[in-house]
């Protein structure tokens, strides 16, 4: 932990610095920087989507399946819709679901993990419940929920979050169990601190670095699961362009119009790669044991 704080202080100095220092930072944290840059581009495009030219829903039947470059930068699909505009708009659903699932599972998992780790009586029942939840496959749960209610982003987020929560709970609990035995926690108890303060001030901060890393992995897997669900027709409704339903509706034209499937496919692969790179970079940065080895 000492290394972590010393490291971050040095890091701050490095990022604030100019020229050569910045170059050294980029070199040492190549995957962090690459992931962040790619992800930032997608986030910017997703946010700016409504203001960009090109409409994802307008159908131009006369110009269906036009190849890239023919008036449309990335061509059109089987209904004559702009593939570039649809790919950019598809990023909105993917990133939104990825972010919401990561945020929801971290928030719920953190709370439950702190409880399981610090209140002995709650530990066993809570963890058995988590084991049970972990056994539910996200995709089956989503299909069941969608058939019970109706396809919406909320349903998808709930369905993907439920099986992710136990992973976060386990992570947080293991960190809490480790930190709880630290002498500084004993010192806080001896100093008369009440339980909530011990948890919030002395235990919670240690859970944050691994949680940030875990959140990126959850985000990446949520984006993939959302695409799978949309592909199967159990995800976002068809009127919302998403990479999953673009790939699904384009697969019949794979030989005639490969661009209709490559664009969303490549975008999906890039975003998931970027989030994973970011996660790896953060792990190297935040885990002092790995940082020392570099």
């Amino acid at each position: 932990m000492t290394e972590a704080s010393a490291f971050s202080a040095r890091e701050l100095a490095a990022t604030a610095g100019t020229g050569p220092r910045r170059r050294r930072f980029i070199k040492r944290h190549a995957s962090l920087v690459a992931g962040a840059v790619i992800l930032a581009i997608f986030v910017a495009l997703a946010l700016a989507a409504p203001y960009l030219p090109g409409d994802p829903l307008t159908m131009t039947p006369a110009r269906r399946l036009s190849p890239p470059g023919s008036g449309y930068f990335l061509g059109t699909d089987a209904l004559g819709r702009d593939v570039l505009a649809r790919t950019i708009h598809g990023a909105r659903v993917s990133l939104l679901v990825g972010f919401l699932v990561a945020a929801a599972s971290v928030a719920i998992g953190l709370a439950l993990g702190l409880i399981a780790g610090s209140i002995r009586k709650a530990d066993a029942p809570l963890m058995r419940l988590m084991d049970a939840l972990m056994a539910i496959p996200a995709i089956l749960l989503a299909i069941a929920l969608v058939s019970l209610t109706r396809a919406s982003v909320t349903t998808v987020v709930i369905a993907i979050t439920i099986p992710e929560v136990p992973r976060v709970v386990r992570l947080v609990r293991s960190v809490v169990l480790g930190v709880r035995e630290q002498p500084f926690v004993e010192a806080a108890i001896a100093g008369g601190a009440r339980l909530p303060k011990i948890i919030l001030r002395h235990i919670l901060p240690s859970t944050i670095p691994p949680l940030i890393v875990q959140a990126t992995y959850i985000c990446a897997s949520a984006i993939l699961v959302e695409a799978t669900l949309s592909f199967l027709g159990a995800g976002s409704p068809p009127e919302i362009p998403s990479w999953g339903n673009m790939i699904a509706s384009s697969r019949l034209y794979l030989a005639r119009a490969p661009w209709t499937i490559f664009c969303p496919g490549l975008a999906l692969a890039l975003v998931v790669l970027a989030v994973n790179l970011l996660g790896d970079g953060l792990r190297d940065r935040l885990d002092p044991r790995l940082a020392r080895r570099m």
Partner: protein, 332 residues
């Protein structure tokens, strides 16, 4: 050193511990049979007067640190009674327990692990005050500044994080934190054993000065007899979870009665290389507390053991000179 009582003083002691024990369950589980209990501390009794320093000495694993944690109620005792000013706090919970902890503070062995690396020194030292809602934020800051001065830290140190300090400075922060609530008793668990020898002396002197200035009582846990000789009024020697000898420092150091104490004293280095001294070298290792020897726990290693030692467990009995030893050898 004005009060150097040989035995516990006649007036009501500050802290009384009677038959304190801590057993740990080992192994065992849903389907496995429970293994024997580990007797980390097995019936420890002593008392401590205001302003007095009792040193608890013994080899590693003899249970001395566990005694410290039990007294702080950082662990739940399996048996025994802890009284402060005659009030039983063995089962205190909630606010009652917090009120007790306000009077009994602890200094930890490891000055690195015992300070939260994410908090500033001032926050660490001020936290006990904050916990008890003592003083306003401004008064608290003043109090923290006083505490820093008291333990020999510069005021600028308040805004630094633990990793910016040396081991000795960190231990001073730990001492300041223990002093914050103006306790009557401080349990010091090997407070200098993690420090360099030169720094050890400074911190030890600080502890002596604070004791004399503030009338603190110490339960000082150590394995270093040089340190003990410097700070103790009374000494208790522990072996395998029990106190085998307890008495005034001079008696324990100059005329130890228990063979284990004699061996400990013989093993301590002496400054004079030409000094002639009797060597008692103990053979074998400390037996496992999972399966302590029958009778006197020390008999397998004792050079004087005889039949009775293997059968009957000796109890602490008074010896001439007013101290107590648990040995059959020269029982009165």
């Amino acid at each position: 050193m004005s009060a150097s009582p040989i035995a516990a003083p006649a007036a009501r002691p500050l802290l009384e511990v009677e038959g304190l024990a801590k057993y740990f369950a080992t192994g065992g589980g849903l389907l496995k049979q429970a293994s024997p209990r580990l007797r980390a501390v097995d019936g420890v009794s002593f008392s401590l007067a205001r302003g007095e320093t009792l040193c608890l000495v013994g080899e590693s694993g003899c249970g001395k640190s566990t005694v410290g944690k039990l007294i702080l109620r950082l662990m739940e005792p399996s048996a025994g009674v802890i009284r402060i000013d005659g009030v039983d706090v063995t089962l205190a919970q909630g606010e009652e327990l917090r009120a007790y902890r306000k009077r009994v503070q602890m200094i930890f062995q490891d000055p690195f692990a015992s300070l939260n690396p994410r908090l500033k020194a001032a926050t660490i030292v001020g936290e006990p005050l904050e916990n008890y809602g003592l003083f306003s934020a401004r008064e608290r800051n003043e109090k923290v500044t006083d505490l820093f001065a008291r333990v020999g830290l510069r005021p600028e140190a308040a805004e630094k994080f633990p990793f910016e300090f040396s081991g000795g400075q960190r231990q001073r922060i730990g001492i300041a934190r223990a002093l914050a609530l103006s306790p009557d008793l401080i349990v010091a668990d090997e407070p200098v054993s993690a420090l360099d020898v030169s720094v050890q002396a400074q911190v030890l002197n600080l502890l002596v000065d604070l004791r004399d200035a503030l009338g603190l009582a110490y339960l000082f846990i150590s394995h270093d007899l040089g340190v003990v000789e410097h700070i103790a009024h009374r000494v208790a020697v522990m072996y395998l979870g029990r106190i085998v000898e307890i008495g005034g420092k001079e008696r324990i150091f100059d005329a130890p009665r228990h063979p284990y104490t004699q061996a400990l004293m013989a093993a301590a280095p002496v400054a004079d290389p030409h000094a002639k001294r009797e060597r008692i070298v103990l053979e074998g290792d400390v037996p496992s507390p999972l399966d302590p020897p029958k009778g006197c726990a020390f008999h397998p290693r004792c050079p004087y053991a005889f039949d009775r030692c293997r059968v009957e467990t000796p109890v602490l009995t008074p010896r001439d000179g007013g101290h107590f030893a648990a040995c059959h050898l020269d029982e009165a």
